[in-house]
Symmetry: C2
Subunit: 470 residues, 2 copies
């Protein structure tokens, strides 16, 4: 099922970095979606390559020349974006094939997600794709966004997309829903991390999540995160995932019968047994997310902090209640709160303002150096694998303390998961302004520790497997 | 255990609306905490009553006259706030008793939460309180805040407290941690609801959560919400709660052994068996919260929306994925997603832009009237008890739609739980500006439905019990 990676990825490259694009279905009709793609390429991105519009009247769109047929385009085209009624899509795929276009994004809906008639159309597309060795994204998808090459062919993009494109980061997304894509883009604007690439795979008649994982394994992606509604080729996904050391996260809709029924009407695909999928993730080292919000909130733990090598966590707080609440959450999550060693307790005892030298460590109003001393004592303690740092930002110096702890974490090769018991508005503002990995809730901060340790264990297992093979 | 309610509550009134206050321990020493209370009363609140400071040097604080002893105060005093080292607190309680002060807030720490020595001090206080019929709040607490009478005796309050005091609302809080109190106050500034009263009960040597529930049952409180670390008088709590029809919510720390150990070092109290506590809540109609964040996020469901009378939910979304994701969450939460009746489906079929006439109902880009028509069809459907409304705010009209749905909900006596798959920053901004009950996540919106139905069932049970008795 897997093509030679190098060849496959060279062809997939064109989706992210085409020199020329044909937008099939773009016209000047009111509410035309193809026109929004032209508009995005021209106005928002200032795309440096060639763009043409294909429409019945051969009319220019947004200043890009228009042709009534793909065959009439007078130059080579790297990639076509099709956004026409479903019924005419197969014919356009054929025309693209004849023209030598080998990359097509089909954004139109109305295929296998809409019953037998759509299914037939999808099969017809597949036949042409096979015949002309075309790689297809979609149908029923939003297209691609690349914040490094600064390319985007999402339909309906508004001006805000520029902010997203200006904020390149390390996370690459594979999504099976445009709505989730928009939620991710908007949410990351409130966060510290940015997007590397985002691919919307829709009904994935050709390119699927496994292809994309393999692709992101060879580019500058740090974390791969996916939103899936179904998995058609489980074995292929597992085979690829096992070879990838970058963290792979997945949120899958349709865990329950009700969720599956809803998902099928959205992006087609067969119902998957959830237990089987869960087991496949564990076997192939894919982190399974518990909430869709985790798809944008958790990656920063993996990009900004060392992995959690054990499950023994020291909690630190400047308000006793949060120590107790977080202890409950940590126990539920399977983490351990070790007793601090005599030596550690003695070191803490020498500091002023420490209310509680047990784990969780709890302090009253204290100056920054006391915070730093405590956190370094805990990070350096042999009985501690990582920190849960919960300090309310009651003074600005707490922000400086957090920045310093980030450096300490690298030094000790142990992570800190950081939460501030402040309003979510304040958390967002501080996180964004100072570029620090603050989580939105205690639960999320604890989940980040769990996920970090899961990735550590997966990585060990994969390295061992790969070592045995070589 | 329970005093005559009317008499008890008249005495408790003084904590919220004293005509005169003595701040015992307020001085001009650097970092003096009593001085922060005087500052708050003078600068932030402009407290209209009399205030005096008690300190060794009899020095005036913030312009308030100072005396070296309670006995020297030349006028009557309604309430004393004690914030001195623990060792001298009993003596001051005695002096207050002799002076005729019957309401004392002890904010000082160093009592039963700190082992046997502190325990002895606390017992001494209790003896004086008994002798002089004093009602005590604390020790080891933050005091009270009342947004209606505009009174606050929290120590360490900063200027921002004025915003909170200017935002009176329907939620009254009983908290056993100052840190949680601050988190609530700050978080509600990002939300639509405001606080009615907040009482920090600390080690609760006298006034406890049961007394406060009884008190809030007779004032203008709409929802009672509590953060507890321990329950000393379970029977008393249950007896009071059974009589109260207002929603009572509780988040309790110390579910696990690790959490209990941490809680005990914070506000003393015995360890409670969590299963016993859980059962007590169910028997007496107390809603048990699952996350500390719910203490500020969920009350708006109960103040802004009718109760959920059954568990059959129709979901509506303008992005298919969220229908599927929410279906999973609802099933997990024990809610039902009924099949829509033929009649309902026919009505939906007459509207343009409806992608999916099943539950969840899923639409594409559509004008406001289509949104409103769909939502009214669903709310009026016999097979539907309530809505999960998940529409991204992609255009401003969605905000108007939500406002209109709030009115519809009252008309049909069915609730809608509302989430927007937008960034949290946008959710907060819209919620605050337009005063609409938007939840932060799908999970939270579903929890709000569960809690609303729980309260409906509790209320029915209580009404039946009370009916039988009368």
């Amino acid at each position: 099922l897997i093509m030679n990676t190098a060849i496959q990825n060279t062809q997939l490259d064109k989706f992210f970095n085409p020199a020329s694009v044909a937008v099939i279905g773009a016209s000047n009709a009111p509410f035309n979606l193809g026109a929004t793609i032209c508009n995005c390429l021209k106005e928002y991105i200032g795309f440096p390559g060639q763009v043409v519009a294909i429409n019945r009247k051969a009319e220019a769109v947004n200043g890009y020349p228009g042709y009534s047929s793909v065959a009439h385009i007078p130059h080579e085209v790297d990639m076509a974006v099709i956004i026409t009624p479903a019924a005419v899509v197969p014919q356009f795929v054929k025309e693209c094939g004849e023209k030598g276009i080998r990359n097509i994004v089909i954004e139109s809906a109305g295929f296998s997600e809409q019953g037998s008639e759509g299914n037939e159309l999808q099969k017809e597309i597949d036949r042409y794709a096979d015949r002309y060795k075309i790689r297809l994204l979609g149908p029923n998808c939003l297209g691609v966004m690349d914040n490094v090459s600064r390319f985007c062919c999402f339909y309906g993009a508004y001006e805000g997309i520029m902010d997203a494109l200006n904020k390149a980061g390390g996370i690459s997304y594979v999504i099976q829903s445009g709505g989730v894509g928009v939620l991710i883009i908007e949410s990351l604007m409130d966060d510290m991390q940015g997007i590397n690439k985002m691919v919307s795979i829709g009904n994935k008649s050709d390119v699927d999540e496994a292809d994309m994982i393999d692709y992101f394994n060879h580019d500058n992606t740090q974390v791969i995160a996916m939103y899936l509604e179904n998995v058609a080729h489980g074995e292929k996904l597992m085979k690829v995932a096992r070879r990838v050391k970058k963290p792979i996260m997945v949120f899958k809709a349709g865990r329950t019968e009700a969720g599956r029924v809803a998902a099928m009407s959205h992006t087609a695909g067969m119902a998957n047994n959830d237990a089987v999928f869960d087991s496949a993730c564990r076997q192939s080292g894919i982190i399974r997310l518990k909430s869709i919000n985790e798809i944008y909130s958790l990656p920063k733990m993996l990009t900004e902090m060392p992995l959690l090598r054990g499950n023994r966590i020291a909690a630190f707080t400047n308000s006793g209640a949060f120590g107790s609440i977080s202890a409950d959450i940590m126990v539920d999550a399977g983490l351990k709160m070790p007793k601090l060693a005599q030596q550690t307790r003695e070191k803490l005892g020498k500091l002023k303002g420490v209310f509680n030298r047990n784990n969780p460590v709890d302090i009253g109003p204290a100056p920054p150096q006391v915070y730093l001393d405590i956190l370094e004592i805990l990070l350096s303690a042999e009985e501690v694998d990582g920190l849960l740092l919960m300090s309310s930002i009651w003074r600005d110096f707490v922000i400086d303390v957090i920045k310093e702890v980030m450096k300490m974490c690298k030094r000790y090769d142990k992570p800190a998961s950081i939460y501030a018991p402040n309003s979510i508005g304040r958390i967002i503002a501080v996180r964004k302004q100072f570029n620090i990995p603050l989580f939105d809730s205690m639960e999320e901060a604890v989940r980040a520790l769990v996920v970090s340790h899961e990735q550590f264990k997966y990585l060990r297992k994969k390295e061992k497997l790969m070592g045995e093979k070589s």
